[in-house]
Each structure stands twice: as structure tokens, then as C-alpha cells.
């Protein structure tokens, strides 16, 4: 068996590797320490290089030699780098116009590492972990990257991987990767619009994706480099710091080491609170020799982090608006990334968005329990798919001629017996496309009216039902404490109206119909209705 192609999710905070095992299941590969979600951290102690969780631990004692959050620096000129994220680790310096790090190796010798070198070493560690796990050499990979990764960044990533003997056969967008992994296990039963929200460690990305016949189209993307798990941590840290100060009259914020300790433990507490409703934090000698021990419940945490959690909701609403869609047009929000474990995030979104929108987070039974592994799983699925194609074919497939396709602006559908529009091909369907719907119950002489549909949101105001109570006083008393507010309910509904009439087909004596819609490359729509019993076909073309 040829060595499998692995999928790598390369994140700022953590990375994952996955491959499709011979049983056709996706295996997320654990490194020798058993971490499936491997922290993207490299640390140097003397001659030794530490990676993953071991390196993360060094952040407290050896922060100057520990490199964190380096992914987004790759391929970016030094002047444009956002260095704020790296302040807790090794200092960033400029090397040849690129970002770089200075670490102290054995004998007090300094080593200057460019970010490219750091990425290479990180990828090499991932590669070693994968080889260790699979037991075969790994040479090819599919890597998922954010949608706003520039060409320069992609080029730098290719080069960094090439340096350690990893050939990147395709870079795929993170939201598509997550969706691919999700759809593999929980397929959508129709064409839908999905928001893929990636709440990571230090940044958040969201994308609105239209799924049409299995083809994904990015409608809009949004990025927030300040919104992530660390923002939640910061709130929690501030809370603990205040608490500590009150108890011990000592400020841990002034000491970098204290902060590092607090950060590490606060993160752990946050993760615990995602699973259970109360957690403890205990740090020996946090500041000035004082130990810190406290217990916090989930409610408290959610209150503390309420502001940040609110931003996540806003972020999703923004991206939907950016795609010029209404929340009703969206069928689901797929949560991925480590921060999506936070239960409040899902419940916030559920509250914020209409009921018709499914929140596919770890709390939903129709979604994976490990949203942080989705990206790697998607990359692995794509890798498996690509193993059936040769490089030349893939290169051709990735050419703009193939990728850039026409998309319908408006939905095309038929009119049903009540005169309502039934969409068959939704807006944003890329063509050429063919879609068939079969109506087994259709019998007799029938008219098929093919129209374009305009959709709009209908807002109906539901009047508050007048209370049927006879006693007005009683009613007043009730209204003081009753939740039954006076504000009218606004019910928003999605509706289609008939637009341009395209064609009409008449069929006589039908015994079950199969109607197929086919749009070819040049945009010609062909509608054919076939009688299931007699095989009689009526065709129209526009």
C-alpha cells in the first residue's frame, strides 16, 4: 500500500494531523504524548527542542525560548506583522525583512530563526508524529489555511514544507475543510447555506458557504484577529487576578511569570468549564509567594466573559450580512475550532438566530464532538480523494477556468397547485448543473410552469391576544410580573414570489413525473419532463 496522504490543520494555537485509515475512517493522529490537538509551540532548552504540549509548559519557566503564535507571521513582511500575540513568548525580531525569533541554545549561544525555519521545524515535528503513528513514511500532505492567506504566505508555506520533505499537494480553505469533514458524517439533505465559524485560540474566522449539489461556494468571509480563546482567557485572568489581589493584596499582573502561570491555569479552567459546571484553579506561589486557590462555576465564567461571548454572536451576524443574506437564508452554523467547546457560545447563537438555523456545535447530536479536529479531518478526506488523481490532473482542475464558474443570481423553480413558487435550483447554484426531481404522485394532465423566483422576507406582526379575563384589575396585576409582554411578536418568514416566467410545459395523462433541470456551460436551461410509466418526454429549452 502506498503511504497515505495526511491532512494537516496548521493553526496559530494548535495543529492537528489526520489520515484516512485502511478502514476508511478518519484517524486524528496523536503525537507521542497522546495529544490529538497539538499546540503549535516550539521551545528550546539547551540543545533540546520541545514541541507541542511539552513546549507549552515551557512558556512559564522558559518563555524567552518558547515560540508561539508564529503561523500568521509566515510570509508577511516584518513591518506588517502583528506582534501583540507573541508577547508572551520569544521576542520577535526582524531577520532579512521577515519576522524571526532569537532563542538561546546550549552554551549561551544565540540562534536566530526566521519564521520560515520555525514553520519548517514545526511541520517536521508533525511529520515525525504522523510517521510514528502510521508506521510509514509520509511525504505528501493537504494543508488547510485561512481564507485570507495571501499568495505570498501560501508560497512561504509550500517552501517551508518542501524543506522538510513534505510535499503539499493542495492548500484548502479552512471553512471548506471543516464543512467537508462535517458533511462526510452528517450530510445535509438538500442544498443549503451554511456559516462555518472557526473560533480558534487567538483569532476567529467565519465564512458563508453555499452548498449546491455538493459544490461549495464561498459567499463571504470575515476575520477577527482579536477574537478568540485568548480573549476569553483574558477575561477569566482578569477575574482571577482581581480575586487574588483582593485576597492577598498582591498584584500578579506586574510579573510576567505570574501572568504566564495564571494564563496556563486559566486556560485549563476554561476548558474544564466547557465540560462540567464548576471547576477549580489552584496555583502554587502565584505572586509574592502567595498560593492561589479558587473555585469558579460556569455561570460565573459566562457572566465574566459575557462581553466577549457577545462579540462571537455579533461576528456571525456580521458575516451573514456581508454575504447579503438574511439569517433565515442560513440553514446551519457549523462551529469548529477549540473555542467552540464553550457551551454558552452555542446557546448564544441559538438565541440570536432564528429557530430554523441549526447550531452544529459539540452540543448538537448532529455534529462532531470534536470541533477542533474538523479541519484536519476535512484535509484528510480531501487528501484521500486526491490520492485517486495524479498531480497533472489536479493542477488542471485547479486552474481558474475550472474554478471560476457562473452562479445563478435567482432561484429557478416551478409553480405548484396553489400558485406558490417551489425552488428547484437555488440562487448561487453554479452551473453547468443538472438536477432531477421525481413526482411519483403526479397523475393526469399537468402544467409545469418554470419561473424565476424572487425571495423576500415577510414580516408579520402578531398582535398580542387580548386577555379573555373579565377583570381588568386582575389583568393589570398579572402584567406586572408576567412575562407576557406587551410588545408585539414579529414573525419573520422567508417567501418566494414568482418572477419572470421562463417556460411552460404541458403533459397529458401522466403516471408519475420526473422533471430534470439542466443548465449547460453557456447558460442554456433545458427542462425535460418524463412520464415514469410511458417514458414520454416533453422538453423545453431557453
Amino acid at each position: 500500500m502506498a503511504s497515505p496522504i495526511v491532512g494537516i490543520a496548521f493553526g496559530n494555537t494548535s495543529s492537528s494531523i489526520a489520515y484516512v485509515n485502511p478502514k476508511n475512517d478518519v484517524d486524528v493522529i496523536a503525537n507521542p504524548d497522546g495529544e490529538r490537538c497539538i499546540p503549535t509551540v516550539l521551545s528550546y532548552v539547551g540543545e533540546d527542542e520541545y514541541h507541542g504540549g511539552q513546549a507549552l509548559q515551557q512558556l512559564v519557566r522558559n518563555s524567552k525560548n518558547t515560540i508561539i503564535n508564529f503561523r500568521d507571521l509566515l510570509g508577511v513582511p516584518f513591518a506588517e506583522c502583528d506582534l501583540s500575540k507573541c508577547s508572551a513568548g520569544a521576542p520577535v525580531v526582524e531577520i532579512d525583512g521577515k519576522a524571526g525569533f532569537v532563542v538561546v541554545r546550549g552554551n549561551g549561544q544565540q540562534e536566530r530563526l526566521t519564521v520560515d525555519e520555525v514553520v519548517s521545524r514545526h511541520l517536521n515535528q508533525l511529520k515525525l508524529a504522523a510517521e510514528d503513528y502510521i508506521g510509514q513514511s509520509v511525504a505528501e500532505t493537504v494543508v488547510s489555511v485561512p481564507t485570507n492567506f495571501t499568495d505570498a504566505q501560501k508560497k512561504a508555506l509550500y517552501a517551508a514544507a518542501e524543506k522538510v520533505g513534505l510535499k503539499i499537494i493542495q492548500l484548502i480553505n479552512e471553512p471548506s475543510s471543516a464543512l467537508l469533514a462535517h458533511v462526510q458524517d452528517y450530510p445535509f439533505d438538500s442544498d443549503v447555506n451554511v456559516v462555518v465559524a472557526d473560533f480558534g485560540g487567538v483569532r476567529s474566522d467565519a465564512a458563508v458557504i453555499a452548498i449546491r449539489n455538493g459544490i461549495y461556494t464561498l459567499l463571504a468571509t470575515a476575520h477577527d484577529a482579536t477574537l478568540g480563546g485568548d480573549a476569553l482567557d483574558a477575561e477569566l485572568i482578569e477575574y482571577f487576578a482581581k480575586d487574588f489581589e483582593k485576597k492577598n493584596h498582591s498584584n500578579p499582573r506586574t510579573n510576567a511569570k505570574s501572568m504566564a502561570k495564571l494564563r496556563a491555569n486559566a486556560e485549563l479552567t476554561k476548558k474544564t468549564l466547557s465540560n462540567v459546571t464548576s471547576a477549580t484553579i489552584s496555583i502554587d506561589s502565584l505572586a509574592d509567594g502567595f498560593d492561589y486557590h479558587a473555585s469558579v462555576n460556569r455561570m460565573r465564567y459566562e457572566l465574566v466573559a459575557n462581553k466577549v461571548l457577545g462579540r462571537f454572536g455579533q461576528f456571525i451576524e456580521d458575516v451573514i450580512a456581508k454575504a447579503e443574506l438574511d439569517p433565515l437564508d442560513v440553514s446551519a452554523v457549523l462551529l469548529c475550532g477549540g473555542s467552540s467547546f464553550t457551551p454558552k457560545l452555542s446557546s448564544n447563537l441559538e438565541f440570536l438566530l432564528p429557530e430554523s438555523v441549526q447550531i452544529l456545535g459539540p452540543q448538537n447530536k448532529n455534529a462532531t464532538n470534536y470541533p477542533n479536529e474538523l479541519l484536519a479531518c476535512g484535509a484528510a478526506r480531501q487528501a484521500q480523494l486526491l490520492s485517486n488523481y495524479d498531480a497533472e490532473e489536479l493542477a488542471k482542475a485547479l486552474e481558474p477556468v475550472v474554478i471560476n464558474t457562473e452562479h445563478l443570481k435567482k432561484a429557478i423553480g416551478v409553480v405548484d397547485a396553489e400558485g406558490n413558487f417551489v425552488p428547484v435550483l437555488f440562487a448561487e447554484t453554479s452551473f453547468p448543473v443538472k438536477k432531477t426531481l421525481s413526482l411519483k404522485s403526479a397523475k393526469g394532465d399537468l402544467l409545469i410552469g418554470v419561473y424565476e423566483g424572487d425571495h423576500h422576507i415577510k414580516e408579520t406582526v402578531r398582535e398580542v391576544d387580548p386577555k379573555d379575563g373579565n377583570n381588568k384589575d386582575e389583568d393589570d396585576d398579572e402584567s406586572d410580573w408576567s412575562d407576557d409582554d406587551d410588545e408585539p411578536d414579529v414573525i419573520r418568514e422567508k417567501h418566494y414570489t414568482l418572477g419572470t416566467k421562463l417556460m411552460e410545459l404541458g403533459i397529458r395523462g401522466a403516471q408519475g413525473l420526473e422533471i430534470s433541470f439542466n443548465i449547460n456551460k453557456s447558460g442554456v436551461l433545458r427542462v425535460a419532463a418524463r412520464d415514469l410509466k410511458s417514458g414520454h418526454v416533453v422538453k423545453g429549452e431557453i
Binding site: 461549495y216 480531501q382 482542475a397 452562479h407 443570481k409 435567482k410 453554479s430 453547468p432 419572470t500 417556460m503
Partner: protein
């Protein structure tokens, strides 16, 4: 699902020619997933939808074909091999052929656990009383179904199956009849194969063919001579009554069973020993090996005696040569003797002739004109002739022959020589002096 409106007017196809769709937008699609790869294939190869669907469908059909066929199905019986099983009394299930009831008559002891489960399912689907009653039979006609259930129970329990396999005489292959003509390997191969199922030691060496090496054949027979069988005959035990009222009877039955089992086992071992013995006696390879051995022995003996044989041969040859030589010598001697005699006689004859020639020479020369003295001449000539030795005789005769005219001179010379040699007194040769 929705319903379509009824057709009111007479429309077949009516295109709203004036209308056009809203202009499409060009956007990139995400290059991930199977659907995209299909899209790319269609675009790159310029397939239309129907062409592409055809290709996909043919690929799917292939995939299904590959996965659908269950290799076990072919090994099961398609129908019941023995129809009498349907009438078999389920209380006597032990006497029924359980493998045949399960549709495993081809596989028997070779059937694996999953195969048994599969076969059972198949048989149950076919012979379940509910199914039978649907086709008119009464619900109580479930004898065969009970046998199937018993068979399943027996064959899925490893211990019970071992006991049943021990007594599954249908799986035994009879050795060929004595005295009949048969191909040894074809006839005996299956016999040993079926006996091999009882071996505690696995794998069992196979009979092999005509070209099998000697050591392998020997190994084969050594194995079978020391065959360790797990065959037991518990399955044929008489049922032990489980009523506690008569313990003695129970023990008696148990003892009887044990004795019967032991007896059967002994008989079986004896049978196998005889079988192997017979096979070995009939094995053409063993015969061949024996013959080869004999030949080899003879060849070795021949080689060992090579020295002595060469010596004897040499001796005989020398004797023959000596004999030949003696014979040749004798012959040669005889020849020489004869030659000598002949020469002597010839010499004698020549001498006589010479003497006569000399004697007559005077007469032929008409006594040299002295015919009156003929008597004297002859007399004296006689003396000369008698006195001349052989050589002188020859030379005189030759001289006379050569020149008849000089006869007198020749004779005179001869007479002179004789006188000089004092062989004759000159007085006796007065004429020639």
C-alpha cells in the same frame, strides 16, 4: 412534496422567448470534495451531464459487482441433497445427516463458523414452519425445521461439533476395492485427506504424487504410522437416563457407553493401521524405492568386486596368449623340418643330375675324338665324379653347361684340382692329366 397544477389550456411546450434569466455572477467555487472533482472532470474532458452520468453509473456497477458476490454461496447446496430428511423423525435427529440438513453436504467438516451461520440462516428462511404453513402445510409439520435447529446447535458448539464430526461417516472416503484397477494417487489421496481431519497434529502431510521425493514419502508413512487421533465416539452413546430413581441403571448405562466407546476407538485405530499398511503395500513409489534399492545394492557389489575380476581376466588373457604362441612355434618347427627335407632331396637330385651331366659330358663330347678310349674316359670320369664334393660338382656342372665345347678342359681342370687336393692319385686320372 408538492403537487402540480392541472393543465387547463392546450399547452405542450411554450417558451417565453422574450424572458431571459437574470445575469449570472461569476464566482470561484471551492476546490474540495468529490463533487468538485467531478465538476473538474466534466469541465476538463468536456463531458455532458448524460455522458458523465453514464461513466459514473458503469463504475458504480463494477463496484457493486465486485462487492456483491459472496464466495460462500457457491459452496452451499442449492437444494436438499436427501429428500428423506424432510420425513425424518426429529426425535431421531442424531441419525440424520446434519450437514445435509444445513445444506453443507459439500463442505462438511471443512465448513467454517461464519459459513455455518450463513447456511443456517438460509435454511431457516426456506424451511421455517411459518413459511411452510403459508404454502398449505400445517404448523405442526416442523420436523425438518427441528432437525435444522438441532444441527445448528450441534455444529456451532465446538465440543459438540467435534463429537459429531467424529461420527460423521458420510464424510469418510472409502479406500478402493482390493483387486480392482485404480490410480493409486487418485484413489488414496481423498482417503488420507478425510482421515487427516482427526489428526491432533496439523498440518498433516499429503500423499503427494508419483514424483514425490523418497524422504517425503517416508515422512508421510511415518506420520500415519504414528497417527494421533482425536476421534471420539460419544455421539453414538446410548442416552443416559437422567432419572435419579435408578442410579444403578444409570451407572450401568454409563459404563456400557464407555466400554462401547473404547471398543469403537480400538476398532477405529485398528482400521486405520490396516488402511495405512495396505496403502503402503500398494504404493507404487515404495515398490519403486525397493527396486531402486536392490539395483543400487547390486551396483555397489559389482563395483566392490572390480579388482579381483580384472586380475582373473588378465590371467586368462596371458594363458591364451601363451597357448597361441606355442602353437605357432610348433607349426613353424614342422614347416622348417619339411623344408629341410625337401632341400636335401632337391640337393640330392641336383647332385645326381650334376653327376649325370658330368658323366655324360664326355660321351656328349664324343670322347674328344678319342672314342677308342671311351671306357677309360668313362672310368676315370667316374672317379672324378665320385671324388668331387658338392660345390665342385655344381661348379663343374655349371661350367660344362655353359660351354659344351670346353668339356675336356673343364674336366681336366677338375681332375687337376682333385690331384692337387690329393683326393685321387694322378694315376687314376691319366687321361685328364
Amino acid at each position: 412534496m408538492f403537487t402540480l397544477p392541472a393543465l387547463t389550456s392546450d399547452i405542450v411546450v411554450q417558451i417565453n422567448a422574450g424572458a431571459s434569466k437574470t445575469a449570472p455572477v461569476r464566482r470561484p467555487i471551492e476546490p474540495v470534495g468529490r463533487a468538485f472533482m467531478h465538476h473538474a472532470q466534466r469541465t476538463l474532458r468536456n463531458h455532458t451531464w448524460s455522458e458523465f452520468e453514464k461513466i459514473q453509473a458503469s463504475q458504480n456497477v463494477q463496484r457493486v459487482d465486485e462487492s456483491k458476490v459472496d464466495p460462500d454461496e457457491a459452496l452451499f447446496d442449492t437444494e436438499l441433497t436427501d429428500d428423506s430428511l424432510l420425513q425424518h423423525d426429529p426425535r431421531d435427529w442424531k441419525t440424520a445427516d446434519l450437514y445435509a440438513a444445513m445444506g453443507l453436504s459439500k463442505l462438511r467438516y471443512r465448513a467454517t463458523e461464519p459459513q455455518i451461520i450463513k447456511a443456517h440462516r438460509k435454511q431457516v428462511l426456506k424451511h421455517h414452519p411459518d413459511k411452510k404453513s403459508a404454502s398449505g402445510a400445517g404448523l405442526e409439520e416442523d420436523g425438518f425445521f427441528k432437525i435444522i435447529q438441532k444441527a445448528y446447535e450441534t455444529l456451532t458448539d465446538s465440543n459438540k461439533r467435534m463429537q459429531y464430526d467424529s461420527c460423521d461417516f458420510n464424510a469418510d472416503v472409502e479406500p478402493p476395492k482390493k483387486g480392482s484397477k485404480y490410480d493409486f494417487y487418485e484413489a488414496w489421496g481423498p482417503v488420507f485427506e478425510s482421515e487427516a481431519r482427526f489428526s491432533k497434529k496439523q498440518p498433516v502431510p499429503t500423499l503427494g504424487g508419483a514424483s514425490t521425493k523418497k524422504d517425503e514419502v517416508e515422512k508421510f508413512y511415518t506420520f500415519w504410522h504414528r497417527f494421533d487421533s482425536w476421534r471420539t465416539f460419544e455421539f453414538l452413546d446410548e442416552d443416559v437416563p437422567d432419572d435419579s430413581s435408578n442410579r444403578d441403571h444409570k451407572r450401568y448405562i454409563e459404563r456400557k457407553n464407555k466400554a462401547a466407546r473404547d471398543k469403537k476407538k480400538t476398532v477405529d485405530i485398528g482400521r486405520l493401521v490396516k488402511l495405512v499398511e495396505r496403502a503402503m503395500n500398494e504404493d507404487p513409489r515404495i515398490k519403486q524405492f525397493k527396486e531402486d534399492e536392490k539395483k543400487e545394492k547390486e551396483r555397489k557389489k559389482w563395483e566392490r568386486e572390480a579388482g579381483a575380476r580384472a586380475e582373473a581376466e588378465a590371467k586368462a588373457k596371458a594363458e591364451a596368449e601363451a597357448k597361441l604362441k606355442a602353437e605357432a612355434d610348433a607349426k613353424l618347427a614342422a614347416n622348417a623340418k619339411a623344408d629341410k627335407k625337401k632341400a636335401k632331396e632337391a640337393a640330392k637330385a641336383a647332385k645326381k643330375k650334376n653327376k649325370r651331366a658330368i658323366r655324360s659330358s664326355a660321351k656328349e663330347a664324343e670322347y674328344f675324338g678319342d672314342a677308342d678310349k671311351a671306357a677309360t674316359i668313362d672310368e676315370q670320369l667316374g672317379h672324378i665324379v665320385d671324388s668331387l664334393d658338392d660345390e665342385q660338382l655344381v661348379s663343374v656342372a655349371d661350367k660344362l653347361k655353359a660351354d659344351a665345347s670346353a668339356t675336356k678342359a673343364v674336366l681336366s681342370d677338375a681332375a687337376k684340382a682333385l690331384v692337387d687336393a690329393k683326393k685321387l692319385p694322378a694315376s687314376m686320372l691319366t687321361y685328364f692329366s
